[in-house]
């Protein structure tokens, strides 16, 4: 009887754990595959040697991973900064200013935010070629930012909507300009929103690989995701070295998992269209 009561109370946990089994299984499988050779039946850490040194495999040299990690961090921060610099003023305008064609622009924003960026890949390639920006980090940074910014603007607009107008009124009475109001009064009131967007931007940059694969020809400029896409995966559907792929895949996934653990409460600050009773 007691057991029944206990299990009823904890049914939701059973349910959640049951649902999570495939994912947990996947993580375990990834780890096992990275240290265990299914063919020879031996355990070894050989697939993890990228942590300590560069190594050669079947004639290809694989660099040590840390400079690539460094690239990834720099790349992520760069995108985050550009993203915020562009998105915040735009979101402010969308939320609090009146301008010609705003309704249309907002819809356009929505469409852009979820527009299949991939359809623009080839033409973007030619534009970058024309601008002489191919094989530069800059090209990937702006293209990647341009892909994310529309929906970041949209979410930030929601945060601006939440900030009380009275704050801004009082600021204007004190003689602030709109611009001064923005960064002295409003922004400090929506730091959580800004950090949420910053996190999203950083994660977006972390996962970016297609642009890097196509636009960067130089293997010293790769980020982790680009490294994985370009160096480890070479054929569309043939997996040549499961051990190495899973090892690097795990190495890629673990930090972002930990990152989530610490930032998920901030990420949860995001609301769409103000959920407080529309």
């Amino acid at each position: 009887m007691n057991l029944w009561k206990f299990s009823k109370r904890n049914m939701i946990h059973f349910f959640m754990i049951l649902l999570m089994l495939p994912i947990v299984f996947m993580i375990i499988w990834l780890f096992v595959s990275s240290v265990y050779n299914y063919n020879s039946g031996r355990f070894s850490w050989v697939n993890w040697q990228f942590l300590t040194r560069s190594f050669e495999l079947e004639g290809i040299s694989f660099p040590i991973i840390w400079p690539i990690v460094m690239n990834t961090v720099v790349f992520g921060l760069l995108i985050t900064v550009i993203d915020l610099l562009v998105a915040i003023p735009a979101a402010y305008a969308f939320s609090r200013l009146n301008f010609f064609g705003k309704g249309f622009a907002l819809k356009f924003l929505f469409i852009m935010g979820s527009f299949p960026g991939i359809t623009l890949l080839i033409t973007s390639f030619f534009i970058m070629m024309y601008l002489g920006l191919l094989n530069t980090v800059f090209a990937v940074v702006v293209l990647s930012a341009a892909g994310m910014i529309p929906w970041h603007v949209y979410i930030l607009k929601g945060f601006f909507d939440e900030v009380s107008w009275d704050l801004e009124f009082s600021g204007m009475i004190d003689g602030c300009s709109r611009f001064k109001c923005l960064y002295q009064i409003i922004l400090p009131n929506m730091l959580s929103g800004i950090s949420a967007i910053a996190i999203y931007a950083f994660m977006g940059a972390y996962g970016e690989w297609l642009l890097i694969k196509l636009f960067i020809f130089d293997n010293t400029k790769l980020t982790l995701a680009g490294y994985l896409a370009k160096v480890i995966f070479t054929d569309d559907d043939k997996v040549t070295n499961i051990g190495l792929i899973t090892a690097i895949g795990l190495f890629y996934t673990i930090p972002i998992g930990i990152f989530y653990l610490f930032t998920q409460s901030t990420m949860m600050k995001v609301t769409i269209g103000g959920s407080k009773g529309v």
């Binding site: 020879s40 024309y130 002489g132 020809f217 040549t240």
Partner: protein, 466 residues
């Protein structure tokens, strides 16, 4: 007021456009500059540094040959007292799409590597240039004539072949014995194949018998559906190669194609070929080692794969292999026909952008990468065969019984036509096969799918439909 709004909108747009245009015009100069400085760097009076970018469409042992060639060339240059240094810029796994886009972006590979099949379209896309100097080249002096034919297209040499393959039919001797074959019959089989006395249908019948009597689990297995071995089977059934060399056109032959689909349909219905034929790509050779397969069609590299699957020393494997298996060419489609073998060799190509100044260095890199011992290194790593006679004279070649025994096949081995309408032919033919195997389409339906898909995507002037 509204006017002003519009004006300021216009202002923003114009600002944007100026930026775009400004950046464009600025770039045109810098683009050329970077290109020329990257090519030949005048290193402050000291050594002239020449950067040669090399690439490969795949990932593999060939990268080592590049590296060795660069090292050797620099040593030679020092010995010659030349004040020049070549620097390598290696990029593996450059796919066809990247090859085209990167060439557009001025990031072409001076030497790239691709299948012999790709001459036609790469030439059409303006990516490669003729390298007729190859005919005078010392390392290629001992290259057999049939391999020269592979490298030539429309009267010029376009690629330097760097490995060669054949497609043996691996035969399970033990299973044949169980089926009641005598030792003499078995030993005579490769010869019968050679004379055209043993046909594809005979092979299929034996495969069916083996499966029916539960001697082996699989009748006929290959190293993949989209692999060369399937193409080989199709060509043998048709009895000709679907290519007219004189007119330089692909032949789309209704009768021949229907015959091939009929063969596969029959194989599937009889159980000699299983529906998961395509899925056996990476495991088929392992099943062959386990004795589960009657016939296996693959490349010479399959021998290496089997060795790995067997998991013991080279010698032990060789003994086991010859005790329990044999191999032959691919049988003829009909009695008295010719046996066949097909290969998919990789060629070195030289970019159309390489100029006269750079070409001598590019040439020497290719020649050095073709050094006999490097050819043999590649053979040991990949199981593919050295191309030149001098490459086959490497002592390590004669040490391998299999390599020696299989070498005769090279004389029968063809490659796929390097015509630009041909890759799509292969792709769509396989789609038809897929429909037949997986979705249970009939031979006629498979043909209709092939024909429809091929016709709608190809420049019909390039094809003879008959």
């Amino acid at each position: 007021m509204k006017m002003r709004t519009k004006l300021s909108m216009l202002f923003v747009v114009l600002l944007g456009l100026t930026l775009v245009l400004g950046a464009c015009s600025a770039n045109n100069n810098t683009g050329e500059q970077t290109a020329s400085t990257a090519e030949v760097q005048q290193n402050s009076g000291a050594k002239e540094v020449i950067k040669i970018s090399v690439g490969e469409d795949d990932y593999g042992a060939r990268m080592l040959n590049y590296a060795a060639a660069f090292k050797a060339l620099n040593e030679e240059l020092v010995a010659e007292g030349k004040n020049v240094e070549v620097v390598e810029d290696i990029l593996p796994a450059v796919g066809d799409d990247e090859l085209v886009l990167q060439a557009q972006a001025g990031q072409w590979r001076d030497i790239s590597m691709n299948s012999s099949l790709d001459i036609g379209w790469e030439l059409d896309a303006g990516l490669i240039q003729p390298i007729d100097w190859l005919k005078e080249s010392e390392v290629f002096k001992t290259l057999p004539q049939n391999l020269w034919d592979i490298m030539e297209y429309q009267g010029h040499v376009y690629g330097a072949i760097q490995d060669m393959d054949a497609s043996p039919l691996y035969i399970n001797k033990t299973a044949l014995k169980t089926l009641g074959w005598s030792d003499a019959d078995i030993e005579g089989l490769p010869d019968r194949v050679l004379k055209g006395d043993f046909t594809m249908d005979d092979m299929l019948n034996i495969a069916t018998e083996a499966v029916d009597k539960k001697v082996t689990k699989y009748g006929l297995v290959s190293d993949g559906l989209d692999n060369i071995s399937v193409q080989d089977i199709n060509n043998q059934i048709m009895g000709f190669e679907p290519y007219d060399q004189e007119q330089s056109k692909v032949i789309f032959d209704k009768k021949g194609i229907t015959d091939t689909y009929n063969f596969w349909e029959k194989g599937i219905e009889s159980g000699a070929i299983t529906k998961d034929f395509a899925a056996l790509e990476d495991v088929g050779f392992g099943y062959f080692v386990n004795g589960d397969v009657m016939f296996f069609i693959g490349g010479t590299g399959s021998y290496n794969n089997m060795k790995e699957a067997y998991g013991k020393s080279d010698k032990e494997f060789e003994d086991w292999f010859y005790a329990n298996n044999t191999f032959s060419l691919i049988p003829a489609g009909s009695k008295g026909g010719k046996p066949g073998s097909l290969a998919n060799p990789r060629l070195y190509y030289v970019s159309s952008k390489v100029d006269e100044k750079k070409m001598p260095y590019v040439q020497r890199i290719i020649e050095l990468a073709m050094a006999p011992n490097l050819q043999m290194d590649h053979t040991l790593a990949s199981g593919k065969l050295p191309v030149t006679r001098s490459g086959q004279e490497d002592p390590r070649f004669s040490e391998s019984r299999f390599l020696n025994d299989v070498a005769y096949m090279l004389d029968y081995t063809k490659v796929r036509p390097p015509h630009l309408a041909y890759p799509s032919y292969l792709q769509q033919q396989i789609k038809g096969l897929e429909a037949l195997m997986v979705k249970g389409a009939t031979a006629e339906e498979a043909y209709a799918l092939f024909e429809g898909n091929y016709k709608q995507g190809v420049d019909q002037d390039q094809v003879i439909f008959r």
